[in-house]
Amino acid sequence: MNATVRRLDGPVPLELKDVYAAYHGDISVLNGLNIKVREGIVTGIIGPNGAGKSTALKTFYGFLKVSRGEVRHNGQRINGTKPSDMVGRGVSFVPQNRSLFNDLTVEDNLRLGCWGIRSDKARIQEALERSYEMFPILKDKRHDSAGSMSGGQQRFLELARALVIDPDIIMLDEPTAMLAPKVSRELYDFISGLPEKGVTVVLVDQNVRQCAAVSDYLYVLDLGANRAEGASADFGDDEGLKAMIQEWLDYQID
């Protein structure tokens, strides 16, 4: 599926190391989770509903308190880093819930994405132009309110905003949920091309087949812990894993 064969043993800029984390009190949602995000590839995270996929991304991003284990960025322990400092570290995040400012214009949404460089007018202009080049539809709609666009266009705006100041890593939580198949395909195409643009991708997805197709390396999560991992190319060969995935796919359809 991927145009180029990518190295699966590159450096690890971002990592969860034996992480326990909770939303409230001491009810752990992540139970000793290990995830290595490798440079220059798409790392996929799949698992049944409630497995802790979104929680894992939020923990990378500092939204949850880590009670045990380590979040590491470029070899440095960053437990307790504020979410708002992650953009400055070159890590962008498109969360599962819509994250646009609906009554602000498309351009203002992008400008807020440039908050970290807000004093540098020239750089902002450059960043906006790059976004518009990448997503021409956003240029046409730049004076419309974000909430007035279609679901797909809103997703592209979220993506554009997350990319506007050139991150090294982007984390995407179910980016194609509730989108029409044609738009989903466009989005997956775009995502799978990001490593060639120098952006490492972490992709959480409910759609197992699509995620496996777009990802270079896959993690399977269940109950807030690792269930399996491996190169996406090898995943089809593992009968036990196929059976498990089939089981939760059946469960989802019920």
Binding site: S84, P95, R98, L104
Partner: protein, 306 residues
């Protein structure tokens, strides 16, 4: 009915409407960005009034001289109060109800402190402008028999109106035209998303609290020109007005609060002139109940919150 009364109602509506607008808008910024139900908002306004009273009684200067000091002091006071009080609410299961109780406590504390410092009496702020009144226009044959009437407006109220409108304009420009202002509105629209664009929600909230406190204080200063006395127990009705304006205008909708404040001021002043007194006092509340029943998102709000 003399048309002079109607002119007076119109001007009174503008003067009081602008005050309600400013009180409502500042409370709306605070409630929208922080989800803090600030039951002490009227007392924040009072602090401004009493500081203006102090400046006037100590120096004899126009109470407006207190404006910049009040704005700056209450901004930083608000930021400090934010860090002292608000982050604790996060440990609560129901942060909004807790915030209401907390701010109710703050309001009692502020009333006691003001009473302790200034005493319980209502104190006059009898600064007089020269001229005391300005004749805005002449109404021919206002009283019949060829007697003309003049629409006289206290200079203090006109000055209050002009300054109030200037502050409203500046605030609107800030919230709608600058990037930090857009960040504030962004936080009202989607509080979770503000952090993924790299904005520190704590700092933004502290600044919003400071801004709201400063605007409330400034309103208090202006209020001493419109009602030239200060009363330690005058905060509660102001808080009530602020909440009415927010309900009318729509929660988290700054422009809505401005329009609703103006509307409420107008309705109040015109009913004073046109209706018997007992009915006039009810009109505002009837309007409030009607809005809650038929358009709960507010006259100018949209059904998007939460």
């Amino acid at each position: 009915m003399s048309s002079i009364l109607l002119y007076n109602a119109l001007i009174g509506g503008l003067v009081f409407g602008a005050i309600y607008a400013l009180i409502g808008a500042s409370l709306n910024v605070m409630m929208g960005v922080l989800r803090v139900v600030n039951f002490a908002h009227g007392e924040f306004v009072l602090i401004g009034s009493f500081l203006a009273y102090s400046v006037f009684s100590l120096t004899g200067l126009n109470p407006l001289a207190a404006l910049p000091v009040v704005a700056i002091a209450m901004f930083f006071g608000g930021v400090a109060a934010y860090y002292l009080l608000i982050p604790r609410l996060r440990y609560s299961d129901d942060a909004e109800t807790s915030s209401f109780l907390l701010m109710f406590g703050v309001s009692l504390m502020l009333v006691s402190s003001i009473t302790w410092i200034y005493g319980a009496d209502i104190r006059p702020v009898n600064f007089s402008f020269d001229p005391v009144n300005i004749a805005l226009l002449t109404v021919e044959d206002a009283y019949g028999k060829g007697r003309d009437g003049k629409v006289l407006v206290p200079t203090a109220r006109l000055v209050a109106l002009v300054i109030n409108l200037a502050i409203i304009a500046a605030m609107t420009w800030f919230i709608y035209r600058t990037l930090p202002g857009k960040a504030l509105r962004g936080a009202i629209m989607n509080r979770d998303a503000i952090q993924v664009v790299g904005i520190d929600i704590d700092r933004l909230s502290a600044n919003a609290f400071g801004l709201a406190a400063a605007l409330a204080g400034v309103t208090g200063v202006i209020l001493t020109l419109v009602i030239p006395s200060v009363d330690p127990n005058g905060g509660a009705p102001l808080t009530l007005f602020a909440f009415i304006v927010i309900v009318l205008g729509g929660l988290g909708h700054p422009i809505g609060a401005l329009l609703a404040g103006m509307l409420f001021g107008m309705v109040e002043q015109f009913s004073n002139v046109l209706l018997p007194q007992s009915a006039a006092q009810m009109v505002g509340f009837v309007m409030l109940v009607a809005v809650v029943m038929f358009k709960p998102e507010g006259l100018f709000g949209r059904k998007v919150m939460r």
